[in-house]
């Protein structure tokens, strides 16, 4: 209610000002045909130079950003297909930077060079078929190259198939956390549906499905290095997106359907931690966190923990109030470590048995 009153007061205040200004207006002598608000030669000159200054500002901003911020960029790809994406990214970036630098220069330089001078004649230049043909055909050729390269890469990535004995893992999203379900020794996921969710059977797996018995539900994703993984994604409530930036992987989780994405992790967590760029980055982050901790300590609050690099799965589709904190740790490790870890987790048949006992 107070908000409405405030709005009302503001409107009335506006009306008052408007009425007052009308009185002023009526008491004013009119001057017609004033050219003082039209750009003069002086304005043309100043703004012409500023245009030149502006394009230099843009270049400097770009250089500054690269200098200052290139260490925030994602590290080298930790998956096989990611290398292809990074190549295509680099090629596209080089092209758009060259085009950008050139066209911005022409635009602002022309604005500077041809700034208006009283009495100067502009050139009546309405058409030139050859010029227009050239700058139609050049983008056509460049884009054709990018499209072809892009489409081959895309098709390779999205062609999810059974070659190379992939491991099937389910990613299960709900407000606001993730679960992973390993398909166990049979490498087949048991049937599941939200209508079967009950107690500890959080993912709604069909207890009567024989394929489900050896499935393993966990809250941390461990992947063996070098093994192709097919992720089957489900969502329990709203749209989520399984975003794994270090692996250049992302796919939406859609309630009512199963989506999929496949990749082969190539760099273990330990190797990534030893990566030179990553060591620098983590050192920098920990420096920032120490500074922050000192501030917090001064206020009598708890200090921040020091940070160690881990792969992440993030939610990347707006899903509710805690969307900003929906994450899961991913660990890439050797086949032996992975098997050891998985063996320590209970299979679903134990969960089902526990449920039956309760009944």
């Amino acid at each position: 209610m107070t908000a409405f009153l405030v709005v009302l007061v503001i409107i009335l205040f506006g009306v008052t000002i408007w009425q007052m200004s009308r009185i002023f207006q009526m008491s004013k002598v009119k001057t017609v045909g004033s050219t003082s608000e039209i750009a003069s030669d002086k304005d043309n000159n100043i703004n012409g130079y500023l245009m030149l200054g502006f394009v230099i500002f843009m270049y400097l901003l770009a250089i500054f950003s690269f200098w200052e911020y290139s260490d925030v960029l994602l590290p080298k790809s930790a998956s096989e297909h990611g290398v292809e994406i990074d190549n295509l990214w680099l090629i596209s970036m080089v092209i758009i930077f060259l085009v950008g630098i050139l066209t911005q220069w022409l635009l602002h330089y022309f604005a500077f060079k041809y700034k208006g001078v009283e009495g100067k004649r502009a050139m009546f230049f309405a058409d030139n078929d050859r010029l227009e043909f050239i700058w139609t055909i050049i983008p056509v050729i460049v884009l054709a190259g990018l499209i072809i390269y892009g489409l081959f890469t895309w098709t390779d990535i999205m062609n999810v198939n059974d070659e190379d004995d992939p491991m099937i893992v389910e990613l299960y999203a709900y407000q606001f956390d993730w679960r992973a379900r390993y398909s166990g020794s049979d490498n087949v996921l048991g049937e599941a549906n939200v209508r079967l969710i009950e107690g500890v059977n959080q993912l709604g797996v069909d207890a009567s499905d024989p394929n489900a018995q050896d499935d393993i539900v966990v809250d941390e994703l461990h992947l063996p290095v070098g093994r192709k993984i097919i992720f089957k994604m489900r969502s329990q409530d709203v749209l989520h997106s399984a975003y794994m930036p270090f692996f250049r992987a992302q796919m939406n989780c859609v309630p009512g359907m199963i989506t999929q994405f496949s990749f082969t992790p190539t760099v273990t967590t330990e190797e990534m931690r030893q990566d030179e760029d990553m060591i620098d980055k983590v050192r920098n982050i920990n420096r920032l966190r120490r500074e922050k901790s000192q501030e917090l300590a001064a206020k009598g609050e708890e200090a921040l923990e020091s940070y160690e690099f881990d792969y992440l799965l993030l939610c990347n589709k707006i899903c509710g109030a805690s969307h900003f904190n929906m994450q899961m740790k991913i660990v890439v490790e050797s086949q032996e470590d992975y098997e050891k870890w998985l063996a320590s987790k209970p299979a679903l048949k134990e969960t089902f048995a526990a449920m039956n006992e309760e009944i």
Binding site: E84, L88, K115, A122, A126, Y243
Partner: protein, 607 residues
């Protein structure tokens, strides 16, 4: 046909031109296109103030997530606890910011204002084809604005599922509080908005087709009119699809249907819905949503083409190519929507098709950019504030457009989809660019709107330079945040120590945002002050060729006090020399208005 209707409107004018109008028929329920355009502009600016102010609030939150701001307590009320923003109101702010800026400011405020003002004046018509429909169109827009603003005061908060309102989040109040009453009002407001937009668009189309003055062939139309005309067509094609999506969503929300919902377990219970698909909604939404960005940018392109040519004192380079590229963009814009959905779970083959069509659209866009640059070449550039904004439009359109080549490529989109890279891209290419188009239009046609009064140029220069620097300062570094892998719509990234090193960039962007937003106050002051106290300029201050400047400064019902001018040439005869190349066609005057017949000593162009 056009001659006939023109005669009719002369009669109409003689009959009704002299009776005294009341305050209500003149300022409120006006059927005069000039007044309606002002109503659109001022409503749009008011909504713009709300939308931009919201961005200030969430930029503060992003830069200093653990700081307590009194400003949050003042404006967010119960959603701010001791100066700490509530996470759900953060989502509400970004949702309403997007909705208001895209629909209420850049669609209605831009296209509504300038289509209404310029279509009749530049084609030489007494008014829109239907003044009444035009009035209804504005008042429906007003009503939808009021409902949208009211939704901010709803108990559980306004819609907060993102401006794309993807279900199930937008369909289930259990999923987020804003999907209750707030979402209902959002949908009602948008349904009315769509009705308003359709009436406006149909009116623009009919007016351009039927009411052109004698001699005004389609190829003599200024590019502004081409842009508004094609924009209206895209609007008519795509807005009804959003209406159907909204209606189906309303059904799902209130009547238990399952168009978009299936297999949902939320708040401890299974919903009965079965068989629907959120992906269907995404298709329907983006079937409007993507043409929508061209509905936003095409009018700005038209305005910029006109302002660039006038102030360069040169014809627009490659008029026919410009028209062709508008048509090509319009056509392609309706078949690229899938690039918003590469990783939505739709068939990857569709992704390939949409990559192909999306990258095709870069071709007409590139042609336009090159033609604008060539228009400047060897000009005699008059640096009026409108011109500066037009040059800056070309600059941001290029920068933002180039990153579009990356996002349109499905393989590259995988890793930057829904990150700040996308936010940076579309803010530059359609947000900032379209705003520059809007501002260029306001500075350029202000004297036409407000009966000869002109805006202060020096305040205009201050406004421009600070805005131009600030806009790049916000959105250029933002690309890096996206390339670091930070998802958009995160209330804070402090839960991910990995992103701790982004704090600097966030602070830098917010500081630029504060400065840029602050300088808009200069513009608002200049705008409102000039309405009342602006200096009265000459009738044709920018020495322009188009017909609106042949009309009297003082607004009259029917635009021209006497007969409607006839047209003898295209609208870009700037700096045209006579056959002997001794002087301009009209000696001493570097432009020939469209209503001047061909001179003897003048080479006839193909227009």
């Amino acid at each position: 046909m056009s001659a006939q209707s023109h005669d009719l409107s002369v009669d109409h004018h003689d009959d009704h031109g002299h009776h005294k109008e009341t305050f209500i028929t003149k300022y409120i329920f006006s059927q005069d296109h000039k007044m309606i355009s002002k109503q659109y502009l001022i409503t749009g600016l008011f909504m713009g103030i709300i939308g931009i102010f919201m961005s200030l609030l969430f930029r503060l939150q992003l830069a200093w997530p653990d700081h307590q701001f009194t400003i949050f307590d003042i404006f967010l009320g119960k959603w701010s606890d001791n100066g700490v923003m509530d996470p759900s109101v953060y989502l509400a702010l970004v949702t309403i910011h997007g909705t208001i800026m895209v629909f209420f400011v850049l669609t209605a405020g831009l296209s509504g204002t300038f289509s209404n003002l310029l279509i009749p004046l530049q084609i030489g018509a007494r008014d829109m084809a239907s003044g009444f429909l035009n009035m209804i169109s504005y008042w429906l827009f007003f009503l939808s604005s009021v409902i949208m603003v009211c939704s901010l005061f709803v108990e559980a908060g306004p819609a907060s599922a993102g401006w794309t309102i993807y279900p199930p989040l937008s369909a289930l109040p259990q999923a987020i509080p804003g999907s209750g009453m707030g979402m209902t009002l959002w949908l009602v407001s948008m349904a009315i908005f769509i009705a308003s937009s359709l009436m406006g668009s149909l009116n623009y189309i009919v007016t351009v087709i039927n009411l052109r003055t004698k001699g005004m062939s389609m190829t003599r139309l200024p590019l502004t009119i081409w842009a508004f005309f094609v924009t209206a067509i895209i609007g008519v094609v795509s807005f009804p699809v959003l209406l159907s999506a909204a209606l189906m969503l309303i059904m799902d929300r209130s009547f238990g249907t399952s168009f978009f919902l299936s297999d949902i377990y939320i708040a401890g219970e299974v919903l009965h819905n079965q068989g629907g698909s959120p992906v269907l909604f995404e298709h329907l939404f983006w079937f409007l949503g993507h043409p929508e960005v061209y509905i936003v940018i095409l009018p700005a392109m038209g305005i910029v083409s006109e302002v660039l040519a006038t102030n360069s004192r040169k014809p627009i380079f490659g008029y026919r190519a410009m028209v062709a590229s508008i048509l090509a963009i319009a056509f392609l814009s309706t078949i690229v929507w899938g690039h918003h959905m590469f990783i939505s779970g739709m068939n990857p083959f569709l992704g390939s098709v949409f990559t192909f069509t999306t990258l095709l659209i870069a071709i007409p866009s590139a042609v336009k950019a090159f033609n604008w640059i060539t228009t400047l070449w060897k000009g005699n550039i008059q640096m009026n504030p409108a011109m500066l904004f037009s040059i800056a439009f070309v600059s941001t359109f290029i920068t933002g457009g180039l990153t579009g080549i990356i996002l349109g490529d499905s393989a590259l989109d995988i890793n930057v989809h829904d990150t700040y890279f996308v936010v940076a891209h579309f803010h530059l290419v359609m947000g900032i660019s379209a705003l520059y188009g809007l501002l260029a239009g306001v500075y350029h046609w202000f004297p036409k709107m407000f009966q000869g009064r002109m805006m202060n140029k020096n305040l205009g220069y201050v406004h421009f330079w600070v805005t131009a620097i600030g806009a790049y300062g916000i959105f250029f570094p933002m690309h890096f945040v996206g390339m670091a892998g930070l998802p958009r719509r995160y209330y804070t990234n402090t839960n991910f120590p990995y992103f701790d090193d982004l704090a600097d960039i966030n602070v830098l962007m917010t500081i630029f945002a504060i400065i840029t937003i602050a300088v808009q106050v200069v513009f608002l002051y200049n705008f409102f002050h000039s309405i009342f106290f602006g200096k009265l300029g000459p009738q044709n201050p920018w020495r322009s060729t188009t017909l609106e400047w042949t009309a009297e400064q003082k607004h009259v019902h029917g635009n021209w006090a006497g007969e409607i001018p006839h047209v003898y040439r295209w609208s870009y005869d700037y700096s045209k020399l006579n056959k002997d190349e001794t002087d301009y066609v009209i000696p001493g005057q570097d432009y020939i208005p469209q209503n001047i017949p061909l001179h003897e000593n003048e080479e006839e162009m193909s227009h």
